[in-house]
Amino acid sequence: MKIKKRVIPMLAGVLTAVMLTSTASAHPEDYWAGKYIGYEDAKFTLRISRSAQTDFLTSDIYRSARDWNGISSNVRVNVSFVINARTTIDDGINVYGDNLGERLLGYTTPYDSNGKPLDTSIDGLISDWAYADITMNTNSSVFSVASDPKLAAQMTFVHEVGHVLKLTHPFISRGLGGHTIDGKPVAIMNQGFPGDYGGAVSSTITGHDKSCLKAKWGA
């Protein structure tokens, strides 16, 4: 393997050239194509399973998913808590909890119609999803190092619901460090803890998140 000791990320320059030719409002890379099989809109109930309800991950954290309401007339998020194992909601998006160590805060998985996880770098980006669910990390030590652990957990859940609504990470938080249109937009859909990247990771839904949601599902 040959890697030079000082590598200049040349691709960043290419991206800069691309961004100058784009319009400032579309942001098509900030959300995915496709909807849910059999649905035109995104109106669903988040079904919070018992596994996701812990002393730390309390009901008010989950209820904040309703912050996505009132932005697009085609988006409506309800939150329902599973009281006993028998409670079922047919069209619910299930929210589970599990101890994921300290590597992940939470994640959303899209599935094809056979229940297989979709590739989120190829088909998951362009196809209709059969279903999606959310897994929250019930290992509270992953959040405990945040300046406000509860807020970090709440931000994570609202962020994951954003993925269920087909929104993606608006800036590349890693190697190339650049959103292709407006640098590092302040957004809840950025990865990390609230306040990271000079405040670009937001604990609340921002103007950028709202414009992406409306671009995706209509005003």
Binding site: N94, R103, L104, L105, P110, Y111, G115, S121, G192, D196
Partner: protein
């Protein structure tokens, strides 16, 4: 939830043993015929520069994978599909430390590293942006220890594993940029890597 422990030692791995004696002339690879499925949109920690990474980790070491990964799959019953569905998979491997940059460790020590991927129904299913752990591969690791076990992980996933210049790692056909250890260059922390090369002699 159903847990299943399996080793990723497949027929292909057995073939690898058979060809090991003339490895230098064979361009053999375990991952040639495997379909890559990158899944799970995550929220995870991010480390925007070397200082943030150094502040977070327990260890920074150069090490080599010394074995084949052990896999754990997690399934749960899904009402929508009416069956058990895979929701998470991890692989754990051992590294032998060759150099210590940060932390309390000695050359020759071994430790276990977990990554969130595995081979399921013939596909490589990954929740991680890091390429799989291959026996003999050498990397620079920025590691955090799980608080409830002795297993370490790469900080922020792809924020915590970097190439060792001049390492001779196994080919990795699943990635467009295998030398960087990620599937996609946009997940590689070039700025941090350049800082590391400036500060440390690796």
């Amino acid at each position: 939830m159903m847990k299943k422990i399996t080793a990723i030692i497949t027929v292909l791995a057995a073939c690898a043993l058979l060809t090991a004696c003339n490895k230098s002339t064979e361009n053999f690879n375990d991952f040639d015929d495997i379909k890559l499925v990158r899944t799970g949109f995550a929220n995870r920690r991010v480390f925007e520069n070397l200082a943030a990474l150094e502040d977070y980790v327990d260890l920074a070491v150069v090490g080599k994978f010394t074995g084949d990964p052990e896999q754990e799959e997690r399934y749960r019953y899904n009402e929508f599909f009416g069956k058990d569905v895979l929701y998470f998979v991890t692989s754990t491997n051992t590294i032998e430390i060759e150099k210590v940059l940060i932390g309390d460790a000695e050359i020759g020590d071994t430790l276990q590293i977990v990554q969130d991927y595995g081979i399921v129904d013939g596909d490589l299913v990954t929740f991680s942006d890091l390429t799989p752990m291959q026996k003999g591969d050498e990397w620079l690791f920025f590691l955090k220890k799980e608080s409830d076990s002795d297993i370490y992980f790469c900080a922020g996933d792809s924020d915590g594993r970097f190439p060792v210049p001049n390492a001779e790692n196994e080919p990795m056909p699943l990635s467009d940029c295998p030398d960087l250890g990620v599937y996609d260059e946009q997940n590689f922390m070039w700025n941090t890597y350049n800082e590391i090369l400036e500060k440390y002699d690796i």
